[in-house]
Symmetry: C2
Subunit: 198 residues, 2 copies
Amino acid sequence: MKSFLETLSEYPILSSEEMQSISTKVHIKKVAKGEILQKKGDLSNRIFFVKKGLLRSYSIDENEKEHIFMFASEDWIMSDLSSHAFNAPPELYIDAVEDSEIEICPQDFFVNVVLQHPEFGFSGTDKLTKRVAVLQKRVIMLMSASARERYENFLETYPKIAQRVPQRMIASYLGITPEALSKIRGEMSRRKTTGLII
Amino acid sequence: MKSFLETLSEYPILSSEEMQSISTKVHIKKVAKGEILQKKGDLSNRIFFVKKGLLRSYSIDENEKEHIFMFASEDWIMSDLSSHAFNAPPELYIDAVEDSEIEICPQDFFVNVVLQHPEFGFSGTDKLTKRVAVLQKRVIMLMSASARERYENFLETYPKIAQRVPQRMIASYLGITPEALSKIRGEMSRRKTTGLII
DNA sequence: CGAGCGCTTGATTGAGTTCAAAAATCGTGG
DNA sequence: CCACGATTTTTGAACTCAATCAAGCGCTCG
């Protein structure tokens, strides 16, 4: 998939004014592993297109515990849409899990201009409908599946991500503790090597 | 908020052909409490605009247990977008919690035509962005909050729904058992009457 | 090469489930 | 409108999965 800027520049449908406005609004950045791109409550909320590397978004609860909401690797868009939807500061933190290269764009501009122009290849309804569907599955998973089932489902759904991300972050994404995930993995590999079925 | 049909008929932007096509595609129906509108795996997937009453969508897991994904009361739209997003049969069941009056519309038509015309007042990106934001909160809730916190949050967020829905369905929405919810409520009212703080 | 971070392992605890049965509420037909 | 059966809610006891607490191991990277 083409990057955000590439796609935009290939579809010169906008007036030159608008193009001008885009080039001033979108910019490329290299970020180091661990670098924080957005904090809860930040005044600016932006969207991030990942050209290279891996980002995550997460909340921090009243006990200082992180809960990862999503990962975004190459060609994915990362953002906290809740701030746009509710016209409020963002709820989530966003940082880089790996050294990354990203394109940054103000959220308003993205939602109000880019998503509205299907010609760009960023069809709003399409992308958002998919996101809703993914979140629907996630909610059902969290409500009905055990920690182990959720982990197995994660491995099936995001095998690439699973290899690039430290275990404790997978645990955080699944909504369990690192210890619990470690025990699940131990049990799974033991079961494998013993040759037990079911 | 105006109903789906009302809104459409007030914005005669479409050609008469298109209007014709709409009137054949959208229709009104009265459904009795308990009536099932859609089942997992159904061939047709449609969206439902609730004019009156209350619908719910839910999944049923391998142990026959229901997990309620969402409620929709007056002026809300109910649908299983996952089927549209993944071009697959729906994952969810949808039925009526109360006697209801609804407008029914094929999902393809809704997503591909109606959401694309902001003039209708059904701005796709707007509605979908809000839905994403709501689901984001729900996921974070499920990952980080206790059963009790989730219940209290539900009461704050959907006080009207809470009064109209049987307790076991609230439990199902929260991802806990009816017994657990009953105990939480008992504890809460005891605490209230005893005047205890914290 | 050592200090710190991440993973593992074990013991203990606790929130929520399961199972069972009684009490309350609802709905329906007479 | 009442009565009765069915469904819902409550309550309690036993249990389970995952959290917490604590200790030890193994990397890696400074």
